[in-house]
Assembly symmetry: C2
Homo-oligomer: 344 residues x 2
């Protein structure tokens, strides 16, 4: 049996068509998910292996995605590290963490005892998934640090940058602990059966190129070299709004770099170098466009990515919750059809 399309593309091997999966492909835009959500909180869904596995499989069954991604959340690791976490209507809330003492109190979690539900869910998914690969994931240290410091989401990242600028030692210690914790989490997911990994640096785009190099890059390199299965299991390094410093991002490592829609994918690929695969980068809002407009944009991404092996089609960010399911179906069909034509 040949290796699955998605994995071959991650390794930049020849493929007969471009593989496609979508960030946040399991979630609120699906009716099946909303029905489960009516009876369970988000946290319950994440922590119930049977339900999490079921949700993971929903989009694969419904739309034939080329990869599954385990249903979970990047912030659950915070709990494992000893931080109180809740999900509210306004978004996630965490106990804000700003002092050296609070940072010292963070422990690197033992994933098998502190997040057993996640590993169990991965095992359940693998039993039912057939040949489709399963992606395990984690938030990148900076993105997690920003949630911990701000106590939730932010627009200006003021507290994060304040800590970074005024207490670089504390910030760095926080990044070190998060790096260890994230490596642990990624390794545990591979051991449980994940076929690929994605690291989400969703908020790193708030930084200037210089600050990325100073405060983030060394930790990202550390993280990448802490992944035991590197070279065996592909690692996708997703960055959002980091179009200004993609060269530095690629120096941080990963096998595939994921980019958002604000940068042309051909230019992004040239900048990171063809020693990496590239993932992306349709605007999630294009799923609200009429058919022919969606087709135009899918074609545009495929055209720019070109015939070189190593492109994985995705959105530039997660599927928006209001997205019509039929548009997701159409998108997957379009990528299959238009990229086969090219390959042929």
């Amino acid at each position: 049996m040949p290796e699955p399309l998605f994995l071959r593309a991650c390794w930049r091997e020849e493929v007969e068509r471009t593989p496609v999966w979508l960030m946040r492909q399991a979630g609120r835009y699906m009716r099946a998910y909303r029905e489960m959500r009516r009876r369970h909180s988000f946290m319950e869904l994440c922590k119930n292996p049977r339900l999490a596995a079921e949700i993971t499989l929903q989009p694969v069954r419904a739309f034939g995605m080329d990869a599954a991604i385990i249903f979970s959340d990047i912030l659950l690791i915070a709990e494992g590290m000893g931080v109180r976490l809740e999900y509210t209507r306004a978004g996630p809330r965490l106990e804000p963490l700003r002092t050296p003492e609070q940072v010292e109190s963070l422990r690197v979690p033992d994933v098998s005892t502190q997040m057993p539900y996640l590993l169990e869910a991965i095992k359940l998914v693998k039993q039912k998934l057939g040949s489709t690969p399963l992606i395990g994931f984690a938030g990148a240290p900076f993105t997690l640090a920003s949630y911990l410091i701000e106590g939730g989401t932010s627009r200006s990242f003021m507290q994060t940058k304040r800590l970074m600028f005024t207490s670089p030692g504390t910030f760095s210690e926080l990044m070190r602990r998060l790096t260890d914790a994230v490596a642990e989490l990624l390794n545990a997911q591979v051991e449980a059966g994940a076929d690929a990994l994605q690291v989400f640096d969703s908020w790193v785009g708030c930084l200037s190129p210089g600050d990325y190099e100073r405060y983030v890059l060394p930790h990202m390199r550390e993280l990448m070299s802490g992944i035991d299965a590197r070279g065996e299991v592909p690692v996708i390094h997703f960055v959002n709004q980091a179009g200004g410093f993609l060269e530095s991002v690629s120096r941080a490592g990963g096998d595939v770099i994921g980019v958002d829609w604000r940068v042309p994918i051909d230019i992004a690929w040239r900048r990171i170098g063809y020693g990496f695969g590239i993932q992306g980068n349709l605007d999630p809002m294009a799923l609200f466009a009429p058919e022919h407009e969606l087709e135009l944009r899918v074609e545009e991404v495929l055209e720019r990515a070109g015939a070189r092996p190593g492109h994985i089609f995705n959105l530039g960010h997660g599927v928006h919750r209001a997205t019509p399911e039929r548009r997701v179906r159409l998108l997957v069909e379009l990528v299959r059809r238009l990229s086969s034509r090219r390959a042929g």
Copy 2:
């Protein structure tokens, strides 16, 4: 008397040091402003020429900025076009506008009768400003369109993109009317005495490069060619988070392109071409850093901008309201000192 430093830099003439002003330099971070704000609503301050003039002058007197920018708001033009506008604690609120009929109902305002307070404020400032140049400004058509369509600020710009994708004719008509209105507004400010203009395309960075070219670029070119005083009064074209398509932005025009901190200013300048001046691009959060960290970052921006004439120092976005005034003072001193040393 030689032409002021700021204007010479806009025209890319030799200067003895780098001029500096800050977006949102008049506003909530200043105690003098907050005292006035306690007695008047934001709208009242904008619409009272004497108070608006006073606020405009505050940072120039306090910190010796190389340019003043008239105290006003980009959304006031919406009122002039017939849209209800209010400023709430949660931000600006507008009557959301989404149908062809609503777009047809927008009128191009006669600025002298509908926004007389603005022109009056400009005249008052000019009487007291001495040789310091005064910048007039407007929101760019896309940024204004997004506020009108969303009814306020947005994270996903879903309604804006939806209208753009599904009703391109309506969207384009809206952009046309806004373009005419903005040209009118800019021209009226020059007639009243403004020495330079800035167009703020603060939200255009939500678009993909392709969508910018399709839906925005033609209107921006139209706008630039609709400025009567072009070639006499420099036009700064500020874009936020548009690092992915700066080449297109420069094709839209302007004498100076303003960029945010997410892109290295030297690379931005090379990409737009040296036929433009460049403005920016310190992270506004750097003003929360200790002195030596702030100095490092100012030095970094000056170093990257280099010795070529045409750099105007600014933040990459507006001053944050929590910024300490003493840090703004220090920033201005640092730019003066460090850039004189370079020029010398």
